[in-house]
Symmetry: C2
């Protein structure tokens, strides 16, 4: 790999910010923008702020999180502190979205921030946070507003991905991977995203025409049948939010995905990449589903955190998403384990435990919670993706009459 000069780096950073605002967010002139970021992402946050104002933003506000301060609660907080969450702040964010603000999250958290903390306390904090965040999150997952997530290399993240490299080199390599996956290293990232987005839409359209009733995953440690929700929709790439703005919610994105039927999942599945869940690495996950629910769960590492996760609530042990990604995706091709869902979920087929996206159902946004549940859409405080794809996995589409046809063979589209 050729090292970036500082001029190249600066140019790529500017292009990442620009493509995030224009292709990712589709920010409207006059629209307000709320950014969330850790303190390590200050330079990228400023860069995005600049392009947002240039695109006509009426106001840009960044909410910074200090990961060191988050740790202080675990060091010095009283027992009661682990059930507390800043509801007023999340409600404020929800209010911003209701008033028309767009939302851009900068991902780059330390994947192992909480890995040495008491899993019980971690789980309590996550549950309290998820509950407080729910009103804001619902506006996001229902696509009431335009939103996107982009990534920023940070020292702690780079160290997780490249544990054996010196910090400077690790940061440079992670930035290179981010720029490549986000197409910010291309001369015209906006056009590159337009072409990529069209391909993802074509793939989703093909699957929507087929109207499969289910999918069958087979590979080492995996023999899983995933029923799809009634009137499910496959989605991929960008989407038009209910405020009329076209946005590409994840940068990068390589997946097509839909809503499984929460009660029609059967069999065993084994993870193919480690899952970084709220600061803890969970590896070698193997779970068995019966009638949609996990009845048996284990992991070679972090199994206690996995148990806490699936005990978050009733829906935490049922599926809310299934996604297909070819093994030749540029992110898989990088050969890296990013320990960040935004990247790793775009390197392999995956499933998510927890909350389903109502947008993955026909007219899903106009359905009541009862109607959504009747179609098979799951409800939960969590939505956690984990990877089950590899170059050893086969996927079949199963029709309502039980006929199967190959979709993916040895990790690639058949």
């Amino acid at each position: 790999m050729k090292a970036m000069t500082s001029t190249e780096f600066e140019q790529n950073l500017q292009r990442l910010a620009e493509v995030a605002v224009h292709s990712g967010l589709g920010l409207a002139p006059g629209q307000e923008l709320v950014i969330t970021a850790t303190l390590d992402a200050v330079p990228l946050a400023r860069c995005i702020t600049k392009y947002a104002y240039k695109a006509g933003a009426c106001l840009v506000t960044t909410l910074f999180t200090d990961e060191d301060s988050s740790l202080l609660r675990f060091r010095h907080g009283s027992d009661a502190s682990f059930d507390a969450a800043p509801s007023w702040l999340y409600e404020g964010m929800a209010q911003a979205y209701r008033s028309g603000a767009a939302r851009l999250a900068i991902a780059g958290n330390n994947p192992s921030l909480l890995s040495r903390e008491d899993p019980d306390k971690v789980s309590r904090v996550n549950r309290a946070t998820s509950r407080a965040y729910r009103p804001a999150l619902e506006l996001i997952v229902r696509h009431e507003i335009n939103w996107t997530i982009v990534a920023c290399a940070t020292p702690a993240w780079a160290k997780c991905v490249f544990p054996d490299l010196p910090q400077d080199e690790a940061m440079a390599r992670l930035w290179s991977a981010i720029f490549a996956a986000s197409r910010a290293d291309q001369p015209d990232p906006v056009t590159a995203w337009k072409e990529h987005d069209a391909k993802l839409h074509a793939r989703a359209d093909y699957l929507n025409e087929k109207r499969y009733a289910g999918l069958h995953f087979r590979g080492p440690g995996t023999d899983l049948r995933v029923g799809l929700a009634d009137d499910h929709l496959w989605l991929g790439g960008g989407t038009t939010a209910h405020n009329g703005r076209y946005c590409i919610p994840n940068m990068p994105t390589e997946e097509v995905f839909t809503t499984p039927h929460k009660d029609r999942v059967e069999g065993r599945v084994t993870s193919t990449k480690p899952l970084s869940y709220q600061g803890t690495l969970i590896e070698g996950i193997s779970v068995r589903f019966e009638a949609g629910r996990i009845v048996d769960a284990g992991a070679s590492r972090g199994s206690e955190v996995l148990q806490k996760m699936i005990e978050t609530d009733e829906g935490a042990r049922q599926l809310g998403e299934v996604a297909l990604v070819p093994h030749s995706s540029p992110i898989a091709a990088s050969g890296l384990l990013f320990m960040n869902t935004l990247f790793d979920e775009n390197a392999a087929c995956h499933i998510a435990l927890g909350q389903a996206y109502s947008t993955c159902l026909k007219d899903g946004d106009s359905l009541t919670p009862d109607q959504l549940a009747a179609r098979g859409a799951n409800t939960s405080l969590i939505h956690v993706d984990w990877m089950i794809g590899s170059n050893k996995i086969d996927v079949d589409g199963i029709t309502a009459t039980g006929e199967s046809s190959p979709l993916i063979r040895a990790g690639e589209w058949a």
Copy 2:
């Protein structure tokens, strides 16, 4: 001045954080805390977070402001952007206070951040921000909750105070001044604050017994009669908030202060120190009051910003506070111009244009807006202190029957 070693600095920083939480804030075990700070104050914010958790805080959330991002609005924002403010965030903060959270502000902003920006745009941003912030500010000024402000040295602030020193030295000198004024350089800051607080209360008690109807300030360029509000109260030092917590809202504080009668101010007054108002320095202010209102205003520097300020609303040209500070205050004795109200207002007698404190009236918090106005308390979106004291100023107390007695002579208590 002896240079601090890094160990001494670290010890002082810890003591500043500790005294801020215990003496300044009076944080209750189990109470939530909201901190506001600029990005330069991250180390102090973390230190305060630590002591807050140690004191039993149930949750500490810091809202960081990035001054560079604030400038980006002025560089690249559309015209409409200058009337926008994040109401959702301020409303969220108000909600936190209503739910029982305490509030700690870390002061350390760049005094000249906006000094090169268009005064009209600065004024529009300030007005929009003041309006959005009002619900939260009211809870603070009414002392519904315990709150405090402490200072943090920052490179931009240090450069304003010590423009001729190298940055390291300027930072070290500003930190020394902050630690001294905040009594964090003393072995037992909590006890030192207890003693100082008792002295301020004794001074306020004396003035409350006297029940003056007004004050008469005389000095170079100043001959000002300030009527006091009916049933005014002199306050100084700490106060018991309505949530029952005893807090010292400003660290440092050297003043005793009360509410003037908004319609009973007559004569001319000249500022004795520059005023740093939202990023602009205003120097050599000279204004004339008739029947409480400024009828003539000028400044040797920044007069345009001064004009914009007093045009904010109807109450912006009337007084909301008058405060007495001896010229021998430790902050005046430092001989420094801090260009930060938290410090400079504790170096000299001062007045404030704009909003009055209802707490400076007998039973003020139970009065309606009309009742407050009838007593003479002013209302405005702004509350801007500026210094009118020096070692050349005399102040008399004037009784209801017109008798005058000396309060301050040549800047010192008579």
